[in-house]
């Protein structure tokens, strides 16, 4: 259990490390180039892992509907955006606004996909998130 807790926490930290590294690369090159490198390096590593441990290609892996294979291109836009953002507003503000967008987007997506009404508790959460975004928007100032 404690191993899983550490694993999940460190994985979250690595998300931040990845954003920081891509942001650094974007400063010297371009955000889309940083996103390209991110995907290429990840692809090479995952190919190597797949070759070593096997089981990369299961039966039926390619039989899903066409649109589920478009997570990659969406990810390219996501990494490019976040690599640019982090250089502008820093890590903490990037992280909290991305989380806000992710949760609000997730609620909207769930609503579109399942049509289930949003619960009152979730609605309260949405109000808090929007308030947080508005407070964040009022904070500004150059890096120091």
């Amino acid at each position: 259990m404690i191993e899983a807790v550490v694993l999940a926490f460190v994985a979250g930290g690595l998300v931040g490390v990845s954003r920081q590294l891509n942001g650094r690369l974007a400063v010297s090159t371009s955000a889309l180039f940083a996103s390209f490198c991110n995907h290429l390096v990840g692809f090479v590593l995952l190919t190597a892992i797949g070759l070593v441990i096997g089981g990369l290609l299961r039966d039926g892996a390619f039989s899903g509907p066409w649109y589920i294979y478009f997570g990659g291109p969406v990810g390219v836009v996501f990494v490019a955006l976040s690599s640019w953002i982090i250089g502008q507003i820093g890590a903490t503000r990037s992280t909290m606004l991305i989380i806000a967008g992710q949760v609000l987007g997730g609620v909207a997506l769930d609503w579109v996909l399942t049509g289930k009404p949003v619960s009152l508790t979730a609605l309260g959460g949405i109000v808090l998130i929007v308030a947080g975004v508005l407070v964040a928007q009022r904070q500004r100032g150059p890096a120091n």
Binding site: G12, F36, V74, G75, F78, I86, T92, G105
Partner: protein, 155 residues
Amino acid sequence: MPARRIDLAANLAALAAGALLSLMVHLNGELARQGGALFSSWMAHGTGTVAALLVIPLWWKAIQRSGAPRAAIPLWAYLGGFAGAVTVIMTSTAVNSSLALSGTLALGLAGQIVFSLAADRWGLFGIARRRLRLGDAVALALIVAGSALVIWGSL
């Protein structure tokens, strides 16, 4: 562009990026159901590489213009994808423990926030150091509490 406008653009872009992240997680999750977590991540990185190559005209000039000497870019700056790919493996392991999805997500968010606070405090990995204001702490608390409510209210 004045600093205020760039701030607003970056804030809006961060919100949009978060929404895109939700869409990406959904699509990659469907793909993982079809072919497993490793296949899903491998495929997403592969199709992403191809997609980025298709839009080379959008970034090639920007790199030439940036004029930064290639040698000045530290090698580790290219390893963002390495950290990303390792993350996928770690989270798909944690999800299958007693933490389940909600526990893994919550701890992952905590890890992200703690790291980003440290990154701003010390200017880690060559990104400018930033002093946070009281308002940033208030905003962070509101967003974290709101996210917890949404996750709890959707269980």
